[in-house]
Symmetry: C2
Subunit: 341 residues, 2 copies
């Protein structure tokens, strides 16, 4: 079912639309369609929505590829993709596979998005398992990325080495990072610390090429990360990422609570908020452009389930930029087969 | 080498001193001795310092148990404990074992602290492996605790069930929590999500007694935690805990940077800081009293390596309170042998 024939050139990809799962996400279709419309009008990005016309409703003038099914947010991913062959997610992935779209974007069921992309676009040659790369903000610098942030609960050392290679290719393509640095998430700097998976991966990363391995990092190094790419298994990565999200939200809420204490604090907060909000916005998932699935033969952006129009517009921009910069070619070249220890 | 004979009663423990590793921590001995002195004078807690007299220097009038060696912060824990039988850490653990101290406290080498406690005090009957419980702040409520936050990189389901039992006993003894609730750290609410370890543990926790199992929690639930006890393996727990620490520090620093933008923001910050600092102090490790080793036959508090006098005084208070409330008896009663799946 995977891609047949040559991958389109970046020039061709620039002319193809980004396929958007109009029914994916907690705020679909309203905010999704609105975000797509913004990316189309403000950035002249070619767009095609995918969804059942009666559910999508007004497309705001955007083209709609019609289908009949939707995979729900809480539906079993593998089963949903297997049963719902005419769902918006599966059809969006097929558009990329068939050279009719440059990339797909969904804020829907994360597992089903991955499964659709994997089953329809296929894996790049040599890739053991695709992974998810999620940006981690660094104030005043391009973000770092965390790989794998949730695709694979169970990993081998060889998989983690490939995540590093794909992550490095991604930050090069997306942020123009030259000579990307890679760190391995562990519980101490020493190569002897951590699980057997981490210890073996540490050794393999020292031997691997394509990036500069800076050694082990710890949880406290995630914000701001000293390395451009932080490698971990998808279980640890998902827990760590959500811990960061949760703690930042907790602290913002606590701060806002303090600001509302009395008239004096409210007045002082009015002075500070215009300065604090731009800083805080760098931490908002809606401004980071979503997570990128790496290792499939086509670009797939996984946007936050809570995505609003701003988040969707940013995700579409990231998808379009990465597709037209030849992200998939970069990742394909970066992945080297690794012998397991 | 472990405890001989009966465990001292809470009444006896209240008369015994807390043994403090005077040479443990980045700021030892100065801040450690000062913190010990404060706990002694302000709270009338009986104290004994342990360390080489020439290195400890002025004890501020506190009793010193003399020894000749110190295990360095970066020394191999197992090797250090094996070789340095007259080190401050090993001797502190022996004082607890021999019924001459109610508890031990160290801000030194975490691995060596655990190894000293484990090898000298011994494990409680039936305990597969001790674990570390670290408090997670909940504004306006008693903290939750994360177990294991770093003692065991590799865990079995049976170990995680015991961590839950020991964590529940700890929050009962320390915070007076009745009917503690326990959550399992995973990457989704569904019992089918996560690693094989998590899936098997989920099943066992549903069957286990001694607490109310509320199901899986995610990284974003750590602050504030809906459960009194969050159970995970020591690798994930350590990464998550340090991720929280790092993100809170990152955001505070970013906020302080914004406050210093100009005269107007500085003025507004002067109004807000008296309200923000008490809130922020709830997140400071120095105010949480350190982490507790659970499962050893004696109380052992592991204070942050960066502990100052305040942190040490709080750690001593926690150690004394837990010892005199019979924490070890509570934990011993809570741990049930579990059949592996």
């Amino acid at each position: 079912m995977s891609r047949r024939g040559e991958r389109p050139s970046p020039e061709t990809l620039a002319t193809l639309p980004v396929a958007i799962d109009a029914m994916g996400g907690d705020k679909a279709p309203g905010e999704i369609v609105e975000g797509a419309r913004r990316a189309a009008t403000e950035d002249s990005i070619p767009i095609v929505l995918v969804g059942p016309p009666d559910l999508v409703g007004d497309t705001g003038g955007l083209e709609l590829v019609e289908c009949t099914e939707v995979i729900a947010m809480d539906e079993d991913p593998a089963g949903g993709v297997r049963r719902k062959k005419d769902s918006s997610l599966v059809r969006a992935a097929e558009l990329v596979r068939d050279g009719k779209a440059s990339a797909m974007v969904s804020a829907g069921n994360t597992g089903a998005t991955m499964a659709s992309a994997l089953l329809r676009m296929g894996r790049l040659p040599g890739v053991v398992r695709p992974c998810i790369a999620t940006p981690l903000p660094r104030l005043g610098r391009s973000p770092a990325v965390l790989v794998d942030s949730g695709a694979n609960s169970e990993c081998t050392p060889a998989m983690l080495v490939q995540f590093a290679q794909m992550g490095a290719a991604y930050v090069s393509a997306r942020f123009g990072t030259e000579s990307p640095t890679v760190g391995l998430l562990s519980i101490g700097e020493e190569p002897t610390k951590g699980t057997p998976l981490v210890k073996e991966t540490h050794y393999l990363l020292q031997e691997a090429g394509g990036f500069e391995f800076v050694g082990n990092l710890e949880g406290r190094d995630l914000l701001p990360s000293p390395a451009d790419v932080i490698v971990t298994d998808g279980f640890t990565g998902n827990v760590a990422l959500k811990a960061l999200e949760g703690s930042l939200r907790f602290l913002f809420d606590a701060m806002l609570g303090v600001f509302g204490t009395n008239e004096e604090t409210k007045g002082a907060a009015d002075v500070l908020l215009p300065y604090l909000l731009p800083m805080a916005s760098q931490f908002e998932p809606e401004n980071t452009g979503g997570a990128m699935l790496l290792g499939t033969d086509g670009v797939c952006v996984i946007s936050h389930g809570s995505s609003n129009a701003t988040a969707m517009a940013n995700a579409v921009r990231v998808a379009y930029e990465c597709a037209t910069r030849g992200l998939v070619d970069h990742v394909a070249s970066a992945v080297l087969p690794v012998q397991e220890g």
